[in-house]
């Protein structure tokens, strides 16, 4: 029974990312290859950034004879990534899944339902962990001679670490579900907690370099402190560094015991938490004059209402908008420093304009509001297909939502960039237009991709946003549409082509891509939408 449930969850995840459960069509070879390439690209991007981080630590720690700190640090980073990556997924997968009641109505012990969902979350954790421990291991081997025993202990430690991350995330998700089952505005609670986490994450991230420098400079002191206050962290690192079997045993126990305890608590309270109804305070309707609007405005308002009613959608798809504004704010705050740098290094002046434009576009690629918008129609798709509105208008409403949320921020940031950096007149025009074109490109691309990879059988809106292949391709595809021309310019053409000419060319290309995508959406895309099932 448990095997069937696990297979079902894994199958659902696989089909969610690749195939179409409704049409029972498997993933084509091309789709599989494309997905594989995308996964390699994503994995490589993460691995590269973590690799660079570990590269700063491996040798200094070895020189200071505190190799265990390197592995403890690896463990902490992996733990943080697993925890942050799965915390809200834990809540939505365990407690908010739409098939919970269906499964509970079947003769399946609740602990099996829980275990099958946990298995999927653990798979996610292992994937997150690999992104950290692979580069950490490779970097270490590159700098320090390694014994076979260390490799084995490394494998054992990191085989069990995801259990601890799950235990902490599961406990947090359990608390979150318990709190939100008692409050009316669940969305608000989730939103506030998400933002708090995000703020903490970015605070930590902004200080990362300082922490690394401090780690390298004061490695021995910090190591002593860790030994004193966080013994399990020391055991983890030392078990690998010195092949200490006792420390291996202790640290693995520290991972298994919380996991077992959390599993016991969760399975004992699983039914209670998922079946507790929210305490709705009934709002009584009072008649008031209604406003008539156009079909186009109604479609837009519907998209907007969906967006603001789903914190998972907002947080995962529109985070880039916050980053755009933060980038603009940071530029204003640090403008003196920028002036100082440009004055001191006149050689880099020609690159500042293109670099700023590409940076703004790159942040913009994180906005993926339109990419899950078709999937989010879910079981209500029949409404959009039965109303007397051209399919093109329905698709356009999704594009408009993306633009309404992101374009004002992009334009504001472009204006700030132009004012602070003061490039020449042509570059300033480029700075205003190119990011705007790129925003339109992302909005259109998202809808087009979702038409090709729609998934309507999600169990929570967040799943449709986070796990759809269209969102993944939209994010990394649009990032590639910035990075590729950016690298080509900086590495190959910066001394051959004027920056202004290059940016105008890039802008024209983007505008052409927008026109092509728009035309495709209004013709072929609209026909695809009409036949979606």
């Amino acid at each position: 029974m448990l095997k069937t449930l696990i297979r079902n969850r894994m199958g659902a995840l696989g089909s969610f990312m690749l195939g179409s459960a409704r049409t029972k069509k498997g993933a084509s070879k091309a789709k599989m290859v494309g997905f594989g390439v995308l996964m390699i690209y994503v994995g490589a991007s993460f691995a590269m950034s973590f690799g660079m981080l570990f590269d700063q630590l491996a040798e200094p720690f070895h020189m200071m004879n505190i190799d265990w700190m390197y592995f403890s640090f690896t463990g902490m980073i992996a733990f943080a990534l697993m925890f942050l990556g799965s915390i809200f997924a834990t809540q939505t997968q365990l407690y908010d899944a739409k098939d919970n009641e269906l499964l509970l109505s079947m003769p399946i012990p609740p602990k099996y339902i829980l275990a099958s969902r946990m298995a999927m979350l653990l798979v996610f954790n292992y994937i997150f962990e690999l992104l950290v421990i692979l580069p950490a291991g490779v970097v270490y081997v590159m700098h320090v001679p390694v014994r076979a025993g260390s490799v084995i202990f490394f494998g054992i430690e990191f085989l069990f670490l995801p259990l601890l991350a799950f235990a902490v995330a599961g406990l947090f998700g359990w608390g979150l579900a318990l709190v939100s089952s008692k409050v009316r505005n669940k969305s608000l609670v989730t939103m506030i907690l998400s933002l708090a986490f995000l703020a903490a994450y970015f605070y930590g991230y902004s200080k990362l370099n300082t922490y690394i420098q401090s780690l390298v400079a004061n490695g021995s002191v910090i190591a002593e402190q860790i030994k004193g206050v966080a013994l399990p962290v020391y055991w983890l690192g030392n078990a690998i560094a010195t092949q200490n079997a006792l420390h291996l045993l202790f640290s693995v126990l520290c991972m298994i015991v919380p996991f077992t305890a959390v599993y016991a608590v969760l399975s004992a309270t699983f039914i209670k938490v998922i079946t507790t109804k929210r305490g709705f305070t009934k709002v009584r309707y009072e008649e008031k004059s209604m406003k008539a609007g156009t079909a186009a405005s109604a479609l837009f308002r519907k998209e907007l209402q969906l967006f603001i009613s789903c914190p998972g959608y907002m947080m995962n798809a529109a985070l880039g908008v916050v980053f755009i504004l933060v980038a603009a704010g940071a530029l204003v705050v640090k403008q003196d420093l920028i002036s100082l740098v440009t004055a001191g290094m006149p050689d880099i002046a020609p690159y500042i304009g293109p670099a700023a434009i590409f940076a703004l576009c790159l942040i913009n690629s994180m906005v993926i509001i339109s990419a899950p918008s078709i999937s989010l129609e879910g079981s209500s798709l029949w409404i959009a297909q039965s109303i007397p509105v051209p399919a093109g208008d329905i698709l356009l409403a999704k594009v408009k939502l993306h633009l309404a949320i992101s374009l004002p921020a992009v334009v504001a940031a472009s204006v700030v960039f132009s004012c602070v950096l003061r490039p020449g007149f042509i570059m300033m025009i480029c700075m205003l237009l190119v990011p705007a074109f790129f925003t339109v490109f992302c909005a259109l691309l998202g809808v087009a991709l979702n038409l090709k990879f729609p998934k309507f059988d999600w169990v929570s809106e967040t799943q449709a946003v986070k796990q759809g292949i269209s969102t993944l391709i939209a994010m990394f595809g649009s990032a590639a549409a910035v990075l590729a021309p950016g690298m080509v310019y900086l590495k190959l053409l910066s001394d051959k082509v004027l920056a202004e000419v290059y940016m105008i060319g890039y802008g024209v290309l983007l505008a052409a891509a927008c026109l092509i995508l728009y035309r495709w959406l209004m013709t072929r895309g609209a026909r695809i939408f009409e036949t979606l099932q």
Binding site: V283, Y285, Q305, L306, W382, S386, I387, V389
Partner: protein, 241 residues
């Protein structure tokens, strides 16, 4: 009002609807009966322009669904078997959305929403999000949204499922009113007693093929519709064997 001519819809090798021909005139309530998986929902979705079809034609008031689906959709109200509405909207926002889509003027929409919401005793719940509605309440909201633009043709898939007895009665009354005003209704149902009492005409399909259609009295003869349905099903099984 609704003319289905040789409608054929296939899923892979399976013919879900096979050369179905039906004519539903103005003022008629037409029941569409068949076992589970007979092809009723598929045929209904084709009529509403939700599903494309392989062969045949469907005309709504003389307009081809294939060639001019938007014009046809303006004349139709479709109420599905499972009222999956926009859960993130409140009841009133959903109705306002539908009214905007169909271009219902402000005064008319206010009057109709008040009339039908009061009738189905849903008025006080209109400010609630649809996600908080029970199945029956969602069904009522779907019915009100179907009536809000005063359609000429109402197509319903199992409309009585989930409705309480009073709402079922009201819906039947509204169906009669609609047809008295010259509209037409085409609906599928498994409740044969309702079809027998309510409908002027009936069509029975089996495995996508029309077995019998016509006036209720002609089809039923001296027997109950239930007996006729069961006999026809049995005869069809023998013939196909």
């Amino acid at each position: 009002m609704l003319r289905i001519e040789n409608l054929t819809k296939t899923y892979g090798d399976n013919k879900a609807v096979d050369s179905l021909t039906l004519h539903i005139g103005r003022g008629e309530i037409y029941a569409f009966i068949g076992h589970n998986g007979a092809g009723k929902t598929t045929a209904i979705k084709c009529c509403c322009g939700i599903l494309g079809f392989d062969e045949g034609e469907i005309f709504v008031d003389g307009v081809s669904v294939r060639e001019n689906p938007l014009e046809c959709k303006k004349k139709i109200a479709y109420i599905p078997d499972n009222p999956n509405l926009y859960e993130f909207l409140s009841g009133i926002k959903y109705l306002n959305f539908i009214a905007d889509i169909y271009g219902v003027p402000q005064k008319e929409r206010e009057e109709r929403i008040k009339k039908y919401a009061d009738l189905f005793e849903l008025t006080s719940d209109l400010a609630q999000p649809v996600s908080a509605y029970s199945h029956g309440m969602k069904q009522k909201l779907a019915i009100i949204s179907g009536l809000i633009h005063a359609p000429e043709l109402i197509i319903m898939d199992e409309p009585f499922v989930g409705l309480d007895p009073k709402s079922s009665y009201l819906l039947k009354e509204l169906m009669h009113e609609h047809c008295d005003r010259g509209g037409a209704i085409f609906f599928s149902t498994h409740i044969l007693e309702v079809a027998e009492k309510l409908c002027d005409k009936v069509a029975i399909i089996k495995k996508g093929k029309l077995i019998v259609s016509g006036n209720m009295e002609e089809v039923r003869g001296t027997e109950s519709l239930e007996n006729v349905f069961l006999e026809l099903e049995e005869a069809h099984v023998k013939n196909t064997n």
